[in-house]
Symmetry: C2
């Protein structure tokens, strides 16, 4: 039986289905939703995807994505230029920014060392990190995931920056805010107890 | 703290978050995914949304959506023109087409009667249904959801077409293929037993 929908619509559904979080079924729903809200959603989305696809660039300083290079954060004069926060991916940068955690600049590695996946030091944005850390930076905060690969990469970076006069720190381990002790693993509890703070 | 991402990217994320199945978090993931696959995904999606937003139309015959009017199905000479399948929404039409269930034409109501939600007969594509059923159609299959509103609408349509020489049928109730009796409601079991068929 021939496809009940034209090739243009079919193509839109196929592309939507490749977004993370959407599958074939939800892509069809999304496509119908877009068509029903043509002026409020479909046309703006067509414009927004076009604009982003034409203008988005990787920041040559920090490796983040933005529509300008250097990116908004690297250009922001209110940011403390002496602190550099090292993250694995742009999504981690966005997460820290949402938390409004530290008014500093970032360095996006674009991954973590992972011998099993064939990711070595040359695949990461490390050379630029050493350059940046050597010029006017007093602290490098390593904000990588608390996974084996993340921690391996943290140690690698520590060695890499050893010769520079910078303080190297990492995010604290401990009980998540709102978390219940009963549900936490032993490693987290040990770390939280070791680094207990005065009330 | 200023937004860490440019307004264009922010806008794309906001629009993606309005798709069914995506929320703010998954929209951010989707946007980053799009940017990382710019040539393979973002640019084609920009084109596809543009093309669909410019070309998609509601079929003046059946009420489906397509990039041509009358739509691909209404124009298909291989379809049996004497059978009309009445569905609530385009998504139901697509579902029946995927099942390759009956090589006939469709009529999309655009909803079902729902007094509580203020949906009356004038809000549905019913006038055109009567016109179509009166010209060369011998059977109208009512393929609406087996909900209260769906069944109310089915009865309303039956009354509406009473004066025409057409056979009016509806989808069978019964045990879903692969379904287990233990998990089915009593209404379904009663219907399945009443309409039992010879082996």
């Amino acid at each position: 039986m021939a496809s009940p929908i034209g090739p243009e619509l079919e193509r839109l559904i196929q592309l939507l289905a490749r977004l993370p979080g959407l599958g074939p079924r939800s892509a069809r729903r999304a496509a119908l939703h877009l068509i029903k809200k043509r002026e409020a959603l479909l046309e703006p989305l067509a414009d927004a995807t076009r604009v982003v696809s034409e203008r988005v660039v990787v920041c040559s300083a920090c490796g983040s994505v933005d529509t300008r290079d250097p990116c908004t954060i690297c250009c922001d004069p209110k940011r403390d230029p002496s602190i550099l926060i090292v993250v694995e991916d742009v999504s981690d940068l966005w997460a820290l920014e949402r938390a409004g955690v530290l008014n500093a600049r970032y360095h996006v590695l674009g991954g973590v060392l992972s011998p099993l996946d064939g990711v070595g030091p040359d695949d990461l944005n490390l050379g630029r990190l050493v350059e940046r850390a050597a010029t006017g930076v007093s602290e490098v905060v390593i904000a990588l995931n608390a996974t084996v690969d993340g921690q391996t990469t943290a140690h690698y970076i520590t060695d890499l920056l050893q010769h520079l006069p910078v303080k190297i720190t990492r995010l604290a381990h401990g009980v998540p805010v709102g978390g219940e002790l009963d549900y936490l693993d032993e490693g987290t509890l040990v770390a939280a107890m070791r680094q207990r703070t005065a009330l």
